[in-house]
């Protein structure tokens, strides 16, 4: 078991700064997901924790011990790679036991540990096979087995499911979650897939351009994003961010959208007259009624995406597009005129210029 702390970590490759002053605390036994778009620095950060990249400044501590200058093997970590990184010339058993062999463990003990781990991952029948004789899912399980057999303080996962097909990804994701529950080992998991992040993580760290945008439990980030980047990065379909201006009327504030619709925002004290905002509402918080109706956004359905379990409506209002999502099937079709009614209590308001969240009294 181990906690991981990053203090003011910076990393530059020549003149390019890729990690900016990252500070992060990962509790003992926690499953932490680093998420962000390509180039956000999430893999670099993971490699820094692993000791595969040096920091330009700052410190990395594992279990309270400063490991910044230590080699990977001295950090008591194990890593699962996106490409599996199994040694092609070694059998499954040799791959799993390689680290133990290097550590000088007696052969019998290695064999026992490998067998035990293989049993846990249902890899026993494959122990004598070479990686090339395994399917993608089996290779990924071997890769995890290689990490588990060492019983490290921290597991590091670098986009481990990226090379798997959609069905297998769901299955292995479940296996990773089960393993974490069973072993309780601190895990740091890098992905760009927000579904993986939301389903696996106890803590999600959203990164952009090498900076931490927000860190916290998945639902906190989803429901309470600090800016438009976090709001739009989490959630499929993405949150609607509609340009608007604030209009104050007595003690109440309202958002005037481009099409003229006026939608309530809440208490006037949180806003200024004419303030440019982004009116944020998640698709599942948008109601829909056929025809025109007061107090909503008039729109025409542009497309209906029906996955069977979910229904997504993409509609065009005057000057912007709004999506709505439902769990139940509705008799809606493209070209239909509708009124979209946001759930005002779920609205998230952002400053149009900075993208930062404007907190309303009712948000807290």
């Amino acid at each position: 078991m181990g906690s991981v702390s990053l203090h003011n970590v910076n990393k530059s490759f020549k003149a390019v700064d890729v990690i900016h002053d990252v500070a992060l605390e990962i509790e003992d036994g926690e499953f932490c997901v680093l998420i962000g778009p390509s180039g956000s620095g999430k893999s670099t950060l993971l490699r820094i924790i692993a000791g595969l990249e040096e920091v330009s400044s700052g410190t990395v501590s594992i279990n309270g011990k400063d490991v910044t200058e230590l080699a990977p093997k001295q950090r008591d970590i194990a890593m699962v790679f996106q490409t599996y990184a199994l040694y092609p010339q070694m059998t499954v058993a040799e791959n799993m036991g390689f680290a133990l062999k290097l550590a000088g463990m007696p052969k019998a003990e290695i064999a026992e540990k490998v067998k035990q781990t293989a049993r846990m991952l249902e890899l026993e029948p494959l122990l004598d096979r070479l990686p090339k004789a395994l399917s993608g899912g089996q290779r990924q399980r071997v890769s995890m087995g290689r990490a588990i057999v060492r019983d490290p303080s921290v597991f590091l996962f670098d986009e481990p499911l990226s090379n798997l097909d959609a069905k297998l990804r769901v299955q292995v994701r479940g296996e990773i979650a089960d393993l974490h529950k069973r072993l309780g080992t601190t895990s740091i998991y890098v992905t760009h897939d927000q579904v993986e992040a939301m389903t696996l993580g106890q803590k999600i760290v959203v990164l952009r351009d090498g900076r931490v945008e927000q860190a916290g439990p998945p639902l906190t980030l989803y429901n309470d994003p600090v800016n438009t980047f976090v709001a739009s990065f989490l959630g499929t379909p993405s949150i609607n961010l509609i340009e608007a201006r604030v209009e104050l009327n007595g003690g109440e504030a309202a958002a005037r959208l481009m099409d003229g619709a006026l939608l309530p925002l809440g208490a006037a004290q949180d806003f200024t007259e004419g303030q440019a905002i982004l009116y944020g509402i998640r698709p599942e918080h948008v109601g829909i009624v056929a025809g025109r109706q007061e107090g909503g956004i008039a729109a025409t359905i542009h497309a209906v995406e029906n996955t069977g379990s979910d229904m997504v409506i993409l509609s065009d209002a005057q000057g912007f597009r709004v999506s709505a999502a439902f769990k139940e099937q509705r008799p809606l079709e493209a070209g239909q005129i509708v009124t979209l009614i946001p759930d005002h209590s779920k609205v998230r308001v952002f400053d149009a210029e900075s993208g930062k969240r404007i907190r309303r009294r009712e948000d807290s």
């Binding site: 890593m79 990184a85 290097l102 290689r146």
Partner: protein, 279 residues
């Protein structure tokens, strides 16, 4: 698609022609070496008349070809092992390590391929004669003089570098996380993965060293240290020696190359093939 009879005949003829072109000369020297009747210089027979081992026995006992065969085998064995090992180490550094001046080092190594042996003959001769510090002697007229100059070979370094570049970096990282040090990564992870290339480099290196003529000529002047190419040249101009015996010595000089090729054939072919599709 099934071939028609004329197509099959045409294909057979092409194969036969290729076989004659490539194997004909070798068959000629084999047949001549086993022929009892004396042949004239420059003449080969196509079928051995009165087959005999006499020429080989004479070459072994009178010409003492075993001395030169031993010299050649000793030099080629040690030098090939050293050359492959040194090339693999150099290739590992060039392919897997980032260091200042790597491109210049690489270029400098490759540029040595452009220098003909004759150009470096005199400087090499001087170096081989130079007195070594502490030992107060030179390596001239020793096996080392024939071995050390061929230990570093640009072709072998270049070949292995290209193969090592193709190994995913994740494997190295995985080994590092698993606790391997630099030497263990090289020995246990990288080297087994470039086995086909090692086979190819070994065969080419073996042939290059086996065929060395100029180097032994300037590295030693003791006849007992001569290798087969040098003694072949000296026998070639020996007017007393029967042509069949000279040809028998030639056959003996060819056999190790064939044996090595057959031993490493699998790796050699895989090395060439994977090089072709690596992209």
């Amino acid at each position: 698609m099934k071939m028609t009879l004329p197509q099959r005949i045409a294909r057979g003829l092409v194969y036969a022609l290729l076989l004659i072109v490539f194997c004909g000369p070798f068959w000629g020297i084999l047949a001549t070496a086993f022929t009892k009747n004396t042949v004239q210089p420059g003449q080969l027979v196509l079928w051995p008349s009165n087959p005999t081992f006499d020429h080989f026995i004479y070459a072994w006992s009178e010409v003492k070809i075993w001395i030169y065969l031993f010299n050649s085998l000793f030099v080629v064995a040690i030098a090939t092992v050293l050359q492959t090992f040194v090339s693999a180490l150099a290739a590992y550094a060039l392919a897997r390590k980032r260091f200042r001046g790597a491109a210049i080092v690489s270029l400098a190594i490759i540029s040595t391929m452009m220098l003909p042996d004759e150009v470096i003959a005199i400087p090499l001769y001087l170096i081989l004669h130079a007195e070594l510090p502490l030992l107060h002697t030179s390596i001239y007229n020793t096996y080392a003089a024939m071995i050390l100059p061929v230990v570093g070979w640009a072709f072998s370094v270049f070949l292995l570098t290209e193969f090592m570049k193709a190994i995913p970096r994740d494997l190295e990282d995985a080994a590092r996380v698993d606790g391997a040090n630099e030497l263990q990564i090289f020995w246990r992870v990288v080297l087994p993965l470039v086995r086909p290339a090692l086979g190819t480099a070994t065969i080419f290196g073996f042939l290059m060293i086996w065929d060395q003529y100029l180097l032994p000529l300037i590295a030693v002047d003791d006849r007992n240290l001569y290798t087969l190419p040098v003694i072949l040249r000296s026998l070639r101009v020996d007017e007393v020696l029967q042509q069949n015996i000279f040809i028998a010595v030639t056959v003996v000089a060819t056999v190790p190359c064939i044996v090595v090729y057959l031993l490493l054939q699998k790796q050699f072919n895989r090395g060439l093939m994977s090089g072709a599709v690596k992209g």
